[in-house]
């Protein structure tokens, strides 16, 4: 009642104040632009322009001493040299991408499996907030240590005379120490899983915590068993978290050269390592061409992940 009668009387003051605030804003209309400017500037100078420079330089020529402005597809030709001609046999570039892709896939599966299990346990089986926070902190603390330290910390365990070999030999399981524990595909996968599982746990945990618990009760009441509830209720609802974690892990592994370098004993090829080596030999346009191709591959990977999960939703 009072609202209705006050409407007419109230309009003018509100308008007036809106007008005043409006004129106040005219002075500060620039404010958000000024506030966003530093961040925009940093990304422009150190992200957008560098990517543009990479694309431009990938079409340039190079000699032993310098890089020359030009427009040539020669660098891309060099990257894929012999790839079509020898087709039944795979060329180095294809093999390198295949190897990187293999690590991507395996590490994606391991981090997703472990990450989902841990997140599920924390979200559904730990009931008090305090214990949840403590468990969560326990998972995140190693994240604050240097990744190099976390990699070399495998040496005392996996090395030729490491704890694992000592134990196995001591138990009589094997006669001679296993050489391929460290500096191998296995070591790379182990280290990548060790480093990046947390990036799966956090977003999946976040998604699981947002699930309305009554939905799960409803599924139980409707006769769904544990696996059915997991597959048809929880998994679809955890989709955003799984997606975010997957994108992070896949893109990190695609561009990795440090873990594959250190844990592979500098013997395993990866796209990132190829780029790094070419930079060392000052073959900038070639490195740039490789970077552009890697970037395209990563974008395709992200796109494929988005599709993959979309298709699941539609099934």
């Amino acid at each position: 009642m009072t609202d209705a009668t006050d409407t007419n009387a109230g309009v003018r003051p509100v308008r007036a104040s809106a007008g005043r605030r409006g004129s106040g804003r005219a002075g500060t209309a620039l404010a958000p632009y000024l506030q966003a400017a530093p961040m925009a500037l940093v990304f422009l100078v150190f992200f957008v322009l560098p990517l543009a420079a990479t694309i431009v330089v990938s079409f340039w020529q190079y000699t032993q001493y310098s890089i020359e402005p030009a427009f040539t597809a020669q660098n891309y030709g060099d990257v894929f040299y012999g790839c079509l001609a020898d087709l039944p046999r795979l060329c180095t570039t294809f093999l390198t991408y295949l190897s990187t892709l293999k690590f991507c896939l395996i590490v994606w599966v391991t981090t997703l499996t472990i990450g989902f299990t841990v997140a599920y346990f924390l979200a559904f089986h730990v009931h008090t907030l305090k214990i949840q926070v403590i468990c969560f902190l326990l998972c995140t603390i190693p994240f604050w240590t240097s990744i190099v330290i976390r990699m070399i910390s495998w040496i005392p365990l996996l090395g030729r005379n490491g704890l694992v070999n000592q134990t196995l030999v001591g138990m009589g399981v094997i006669d001679t120490p296993l050489e391929e524990l460290l500096y191998s595909d296995f070591a790379v996968i182990l280290a990548l899983t060790h480093l990046y599982t947390l990036f799966m746990v956090v977003p999946i945990f976040n998604s699981l915590m947002r699930i309305d618990r009554s939905l799960i009760e409803a599924a139980r009441d409707a006769g769904a068993g544990g696996p059915q509830t997991l597959l048809h209720v929880i998994l679809p609802l955890a989709r955003p978290g799984i997606l975010i974690g997957s994108i992070f892990v896949v893109t990190v592994v695609m561009g990795d050269f440090l873990t594959i370098g250190i844990m592979g004993g500098q013997q395993i090829a990866s796209v990132g390592k190829v780029i790094q080596t070419q930079m060392q030999f000052l073959q900038f346009p070639l490195a740039a061409a490789n970077a552009v191709i890697l970037l395209a591959a990563v974008l395709v990977g992200v796109w494929a992940l988005l599709k993959l999960v979309d298709i699941r939703k539609e099934l």
Binding site: A31, P32, Y33, Q35, A36, P38, M39, V42, F43, V45, F46, F47, V48, L49, P50, A53, T54, V57, I67, T117, V118, F121, H125, C139, I141, P142, W144, T145, S146, I147, V148, I149, I152, S153, P156, L157, G159, G162, L163, Q166, H194, G226, T251, V252, G255, D256, F257, L258, I262, G265, G272, I275, Q276, M279, F284, A291, L294, L295, V298, V302
Partner: protein, 291 residues
Amino acid sequence: MSARRPRSFYVLAFLFVLFLLFLYGPMISILVLSFQGPEGGLVFPMVGVSTHWFERLWAGGGQVEIGAALRRSFALALVVMVLTVTISVLAGLAFRRRFRGATVLLYVAIASLIVPSIVVSLGIALEFRLLDDAIKAVGAVAGIEWVQTGFVSALGPFTSGLGAHLTWTLPFGLLIMFAVFNRFDPAYEEAARDLGATPWQTFRHVTLPMIAPFLIGVAVFGFTLSWDELARSSQVMGAQNTLPMQLAAKTTTVTDPEIYALGTATTGGSVLLLLVAFTLISLMQPRRKRG
């Protein structure tokens, strides 16, 4: 909740403990091995217990030479921390209102997280090399003596290196600020405005104290992300090295536990930083409630 837990609880709890063991096991092993006796090696068994390797590390002159790289990394991390907090808060404030280009800026920030670090690092290195060429050309044409004789490269820890680290820390900072301002009740600011506070006074005396604990979080993130950063640093530090780069280069050549001592020391530093941050945050909470 029911007193009896389902069997799945025990299975999952066991798996969780295994996961923690997987996370901490290797780190505990180097923590223990860093106190290896002077005669001890890179693997178990322990040959006595001593602080020999810490003393070697501290004195310098061993296999791991870290002094300059450590100071450089620390200074860089401090600069990155301050810039990350400042720029993230400003951008966070900007995103509370509509402005043209907001969506583009957000997508660029997220892209900066997703694009492989080696590509970002290479891009910045290329950009700065082109810049070097330009500076030298200008120097030659204009006859600037300093450029012609003294200028080598614009690449360095506090130019290209700083930029590379910011492309890594700022997206995290921005996302944290989103989370903070999503839960922020604007009623307090409105009250301040109604009482006649200027925008600056509102920010200084109302908004800032309320978001301060989260800013410590952003600061810790900024510092540690920069302190540990390696992939984006790889091409952009010019002739100089940061601590993680030094460490990565040493992994294949070092043959004694000094590197474990360094690992223990840096991890200890990180944990100390976290403790200080948590203490500061918990000290701020009551003040906030009182105010």
